[in-house]
């Protein structure tokens, strides 16, 4: 009998809690999210100013999430954070990391959805288009009045962080696609290892000479064009840019350019190279790149890839070439940024950390520890002097680099173009049909905005 009552009480509680859970957490919470976030913010701000007054009071705790999980970059960030904390005893940084790609997006999305997003985020240019319109990244203009970077930063790098005239991200890590080639394979094919292709025609000629077949099987290719994966759009972009196109879409007036005459011409050129013989690879992971295993003589990759290959089996056999030229010289250049969450109650402190992490000293440490080219004019000469041959190529590539379009529907652009390039690579559709279809899909997303 006693159990009966206990049971009723417990089950009742369970139901109420369950319903509360349903209503409160599931729906109302989201509806009233803005208000509660505001409340939380003001509450914490109160706390913070208290401690600020007391001066000796509690430390401000910032969470910082960076993209990537490798130990070398962690060592860099550990050093930066330790130095920053030593110089700013009132701030404590909690370091978080998560691997690139889908995992990172998922992590950030769940964080913002639940109001537990990190205060400072290290992430890519491509994320800006989506996350700025959602209000997830904070505008930084109020802090940059007396920031030394305003004058010192490379014009192009600074502008990459802007949307609609407002600055949202501070560029720290250029991720430029360099033309990298294998000198040994060039020699084997009777090509001069010191004069890499500079134009499309030369590229085609070199590519033809470098393709090797055993029966129907391609055992070596010239330019290792991916057959699937997320980097296909970069390949198309590189050639479309060189052909004089602005980008895959025009972010100023939302015009779809991925099926413009110039882009289609670029895709047709790529297809022509593919028909000569390629080794299919999934470009979602640069690990699969046939260049790394000596099966492709040329590829587009970033400085990290170059350093990695140059320390492995290909050491000493590879070199960088200036960006290809048709109508103009251009390449794709992504960028790693420091962003500030719009939800953080500690904007002032978050900015201090971003400012520190983008300072000239740290930029140089970043170059020394990870080989990342600095984006500050004051470091240019010092940087090129370190390794005149390669670093001048890198600098040239960064200077003529164009990044992903910063539009709210950028994910749709990437997916549609990747899918189209895959259909072209597998010969299911010709370049025009495939890219027209992609343009339609993108247009649909634009209309949905």
């Amino acid at each position: 009998m006693k159990f009966r009552k206990v049971m009723c009480a417990l089950l009742g509680t369970a139901m109420i809690l369950g319903m509360a859970g349903c209503g409160n957490k599931g729906t109302e919470e989201l509806v009233s999210k803005d208000e509660t976030a505001g409340e939380a913010e003001s509450a914490e701000e109160g706390q913070e100013s208290d401690s600020g007054d007391a001066a000796s009071g509690e430390k401000v705790k910032l969470t910082f999430l960076r993209a990537g999980t490798d130990a070398e970059k962690k060592a860099f960030w550990d050093k930066v954070i330790a130095d920053f904390e030593a110089a700013n005893p009132d701030i404590e940084i909690e370091y978080q990391e998560c691997s690139y790609g889908d995992d990172f997006e998922t992590k950030l999305n769940t964080g913002f959805a639940s109001g537990t997003a990190p205060d400072v985020i290290d992430f890519t240019l491509a994320s800006m288009g989506v996350r700025v319109p959602l209000g997830q990244y904070a505008a930084l203009d109020e802090f940059t009045a007396d920031w030394d970077g305003t004058d010192d930063y490379m014009e192009s790098a600074l502008n990459l962080g802007k949307i609609g005239g407002k600055l949202y991200g501070i560029a720290t890590q250029p991720d430029v696609r360099l033309l990298i080639y294998n000198k040994e394979l060039f020699e084997q094919a009777g090509l001069d290892p010191n004069s890499p292709p500079a134009t499309w025609d030369e590229l085609e000629e070199y590519h033809k000479k470098l393709v090797k077949k055993e029966g129907d099987n391609v055992v070596q290719t010239g330019l290792g064009i991916p057959s699937s994966g997320t980097a296909q759009q970069h390949y198309l972009t590189i050639f479309a840019l060189a052909n004089g196109e602005k980008n895959l879409v025009d972010e100023d007036n939302n015009t779809v350019l991925c099926n413009s005459e110039k882009t289609i011409e670029a895709a047709e050129f790529l297809k022509k190279l593919e028909d000569e013989g390629i080794i299919p690879w999934d470009s979602s992971s640069s690990d699969n790149n046939p260049f790394g295993s000596g099966l492709a003589a040329m590829t587009f990759a970033n400085t990290t890839d170059f350093a990695n290959w140059n320390s492995g089996a290909l050491a000493g056999k590879i070199a960088m070439a200036s960006p290809l030229k048709k109508e103009k010289q251009a390449t794709f250049c992504g960028m790693g940024f420091m962003f500030m969450s719009n939800e953080t109650p500690h904007k002032e402190e978050a900015w201090r950390f971003i400012e520190y992490a983008s300072s000239a000293d740290v930029a140089w440490t970043r170059y020394e520890m990870m080989g990342v080219p600095p984006v500050r004019e004051s470091l240019k000469d010092k940087y090129i002097a370190e390794n005149p041959e390669n670093n001048s190529v890198i600098y040239e590539s960064v200077a003529c680099g164009v990044g992903s379009p910063k539009v709210a529907y950028s994910n749709a652009v990437f997916n549609a173009v990747d899918d189209a390039m895959e259909r072209i690579a597998y010969g299911v559709e010709d370049p025009k049909t495939a890219l027209d279809k992609a343009a339609q899909e993108i247009q649909k997303e634009i209309d949905n905005q």
Partner: protein
């Protein structure tokens, strides 16, 4: 509740403590499974994008689903995967179980060999198989080469990619079926086989007239749980092919994940989830209705 209290007082037929006993399990189940399912139902009629306030959009998401080529392909792929994973895997599991079912000191050794893939994490196993299928360095092509056959593109080949994923999934899960079948076999009384031997029955006859009918509940159990599992195939697809090439391997849950978590269309993804759940329930009911054949496994 009150009514049942009084009933119990009168007839003493019900055990009140049962509610307390199921409370912990049911409480967690309610909060972490039932409520989220309800929330998913709610999202499916909104335009929720994980960040801004959701607005009701009625059945728009569901209507859009049926013109979404990717989703329709993913349904086809999921069904294809389920059929070609589940049945071969059950057949293989049964075959190995029957082969293994004899007294031997080596039995635990073999059983372990077949079960190991099942205790490994899918993430790690998928990566190992990526290697096996690698067109240039992969073991599979190496074997083909040594036999003088022409090499294949495996995961890069639109016509073969799904079979590669299926092969890997069969490899991973056949040990589980084998162990369950083996346990089913050990519970068949030896006397049945002895009687059959006296009647001069062959091994095949024994299997067909004794083993197979006696294993029906086991088979049924594996079938039901297997179907639900294969409908929600995700991890191996996400790692090995990411749905490609040419969308030939994208599955329903893979679509849900991409749309919801990577394209911010949580409302739309929730509508897919609801369809998936409804579909799983429907298939399970059908199997119960037509597949159990009056056997003693019931879930109610």
């Amino acid at each position: 509740m009150n009514k049942s209290t009084s009933t119990k007082k009168r007839k003493n037929r019900y055990d009140g403590c049962a509610y307390v006993m199921i409370f912990p399990a049911y409480f967690i189940f309610t909060i972490f499974i039932l409520v989220p399912i309800a929330v998913v139902f709610y999202y499916s009629i909104t335009n929720f994008n994980m960040y801004t306030t959701p607005e009701l959009v009625g059945l728009k998401n569901y209507i859009n689903l049926f013109t979404d080529e990717d989703f329709l392909i993913s349904i086809k792929n999921t069904l294809f995967y389920s059929i070609f994973t589940l049945f071969p895997q059950l057949a293989l599991g049964l075959f190995v179980a029957v082969l293994l079912y004899r007294k031997s000191k080596l039995l635990p050794l073999f059983r372990t060999a077949f079960y190991i893939p099942n205790v490994m994490s899918m993430v790690c196993i998928s990566m190992v198989w990526l290697w096996i299928f690698d067109p240039t360095f992969g073991v599979l092509n190496l074997i083909l080469k040594t036999f003088g056959a022409s090499t294949k593109m495996w995961l890069q080949d639109p016509d073969m990619a799904m079979f590669c994923v299926i092969l890997m999934s069969i490899w991973k899960s056949c040990g589980y079926s084998m162990v369950i079948f083996l346990s089913g076999l050990t519970s068949i009384p030896d006397s049945l086989y002895e009687a059959a031997s006296l009647d001069g029955g062959s091994a095949i006859q024994k299997f067909w007239y004794i083993t197979w009918p006696m294993l029906r509940p086991t088979t049924f159990f594996l079938l039901v749980t297997g179907i639900v599992n294969s409908f929600s195939v995700f991890e191996q697809v996400n790692i090995m092919t990411n749905g490609g090439p040419l969308k030939r391997t994208t599955t329903i849950v893979h679509q849900i994940y991409r749309r919801g978590f990577l394209e911010f269309k949580m409302g739309y993804a929730s509508a897919m989830s609801v369809i998936l759940l409804a579909f799983s329930i429907l298939v399970t009911i059908l199997i119960f209705k037509y597949g159990s054949g009056g056997q003693d496994v019931d879930v109610s």
